[in-house]
Subunit: 351 residues, 2 copies
């Protein structure tokens, strides 16, 4: 198969490209390198079945020109800023890659009669009122809140993907990706796993906001990629949740990371910003049933590999320190509500 992967130089995208090449597919990666990194692809750049194109998928003409007439069997649309520090920096671009970017990739798939999968997100559930989240939960997102540039872009992407499936008969599938971690994350992406690892490796205190009893669930990247490929190979429309439902407290995660990295770091507690960070935990019944998928990698194994990867990049980890001491750029933003105070200011004109 020839598969076009947008956002293929990103954390998840580069793992997807690599795994597809490993099983014998041809892969064309398109990425504008705004949040993706070429070094994520360094080990596959010389593979004759791999092509890298620096192109912005929101530019239809540039995309068509770059891709030419080579037949395409599948399209995986992963391109987007995905962490709060990134999408707050480029809000309009984030909206655009969710709307026009998705439309352009859908047009590409439709033209080739190719399978299309959209990398959507658990963020479409927003601040969920039900727990764990099943795919038929409609979510709780503030359309004019600070996070709406990401959340509403992805909800729109789901709507347009569904509309192509219904009105054009395009072979579409939507995956809602929950928190994922592993090698090739960026030390300054503002997420709790990377922040803790960077602090532990730097010998700095790990910053916990609140008492650490709040829970998160994390999926190791290899599991996530296996789920993406299962969806790619299926005709499942979705949306289908892919994530690891195992919950653990933020405090236990911090302790585990200190232990596994052989660090002497202490754990420091800071006041919790206004609202308690939201829990998100996938119900994965649909993925288990329709894709025969479930996560396999435990937290110990996953963290070991992630820590080892960051340990081999001491400079990046050291350079991240100024962004992490005293608080990550967007709080511990695997939670969606670290900017709730802003949400509130804006959302309650009638208060």
């Amino acid at each position: 198969m020839h598969i076009v992967v947008s956002g293929g130089a990103g954390f998840l995208g580069s793992h997807l490209c690599e795994t597809l090449l490993d099983r014998g597919d041809s892969v064309t990666c398109v990425d504008n390198l705004v949040t993706g990194r070429e070094e994520n692809l360094s080990h596959i750049r010389k593979n004759p079945r791999f092509t890298f194109l620096t192109v912005d998928v929101t530019d239809r003409d540039a995309l068509d020109l770059a891709l030419g007439d080579v037949p395409v069997d599948a399209v995986a649309h992963l391109a987007s800023a995905a962490s709060p520090p990134d999408y707050h920096r480029i809000p309009l671009e984030t909206l655009l890659v969710g709307s026009r970017g998705t439309e352009n990739m859908l047009e590409l798939a439709d033209r080739h009669g190719a399978r299309f999968i959209l990398a959507s997100t658990s963020e479409v559930y927003g601040d969920p009122a039900v727990h764990p989240q099943r795919e038929d939960y409609w979510g709780n997102v503030n359309p004019t809140g600070p996070r709406s540039v990401y959340d509403e872009a992805k909800r729109y992407a789901e709507a347009v993907t569904t509309a192509y499936g219904r009105s054009r008969g395009t072979n579409v599938g939507i995956v809602r990706i929950f928190n994922t971690y592993g090698p090739r994350m960026r030390a300054i992406d503002g997420r709790v796993v990377t922040s803790f690892i960077a602090q532990a490796l730097n010998g700095d205190s790990l910053s916990i906001y609140g008492d650490g009893s709040q829970t998160r669930s994390f999926c190791y990247v290899d599991d996530l990629i296996r789920g993406l490929i299962a969806l790619l190979d299926s005709t499942e429309t979705g949306p289908v949740n892919i994530g690891n439902p195992a919950e653990r407290t933020v405090a236990s995660l911090a302790e585990l990371i200190v232990a596994l990295s052989g660090s002497q770091s202490e754990i420091e507690y800071f006041p919790l910003p206004i609202d308690d960070p939201t829990r998100r935990k996938p119900n994965i019944d649909l993925a288990m049933r329709s894709l025969q998928w479930s996560p396999r990698v435990g937290i110990l194994q996953g963290l070991k590999q992630t820590i080892a990867w960051f340990a081999s990049r001491p400079e990046e980890v050291r350079n991240a320190a100024p962004f992490l001491v005293g608080g990550q750029p967007d709080g511990q933003s695997d939670s969606p509500t670290s900017d709730t105070s802003l949400d509130r200011l804006y959302a309650e004109p009638a208060a």
Copy 2:
């Protein structure tokens, strides 16, 4: 002031153009006439302060070319299919005018340092869990349901409008428009007021789904336009609800329309589709406080004028009959849930 009105040939747009001209503004109407009608503008076409441009606002180049370099003081973005029969017919175009159309109009406003107002909708509240709806309610919309082509397009439009305000400093305002009725609606738009009026004028039975005890709230178009202009003239960011909070039952509406039109029509009851149609009723505290706006036109006066308008177009009303007998195109679709059965089919993969 020179005001550009997108969707200016539509029901609300044409009333807005007319009212702005009446008070001395210059108005450029841009409309691709997909759901708008030139005849809505026939009485103002000769006004020297009025310009009509047949242009699709999703086409940036065509828009810029058509508008030229004339300074713009305000932009009112009303362009969109708005009734279910329309947006089900053109789902991809509906999404596009909400995303790219809104972005193009925002760029226009931003370039001219002009005020921008977005005509959003009570549909962003979806199937609301709170009643009446205040602006800080985040809504309950299925991102992959049949209505998502409209609802998510408008939520995206709100997000991108907000993002321009925050990141570019564009002077933006968002209005969420609730059910509105009046002259220049189309007899076949599938809404309950127009369907009842057309049935009454044709002497056909008025079709009520369910026992008629379900309630709706309706705003007369003149009130709505006064609210739009108050927002245009303000610096209120919104989102701000504009609608009439007076609720009435569908049965009492049917009786009133039969009485006011001097019709001999009977009222016929049909089974209610799966779920009870949703109530939507605006909380208008914000509009009252920040725009000094509240509705003034009562249902008797509003219906009289609407019935008189349709009565002067007997051919259009007669031609609508085949679409109305035995059920409107999309049920009595002032409610958002007449296609709930489809929503369900699609939304419950994990059921």
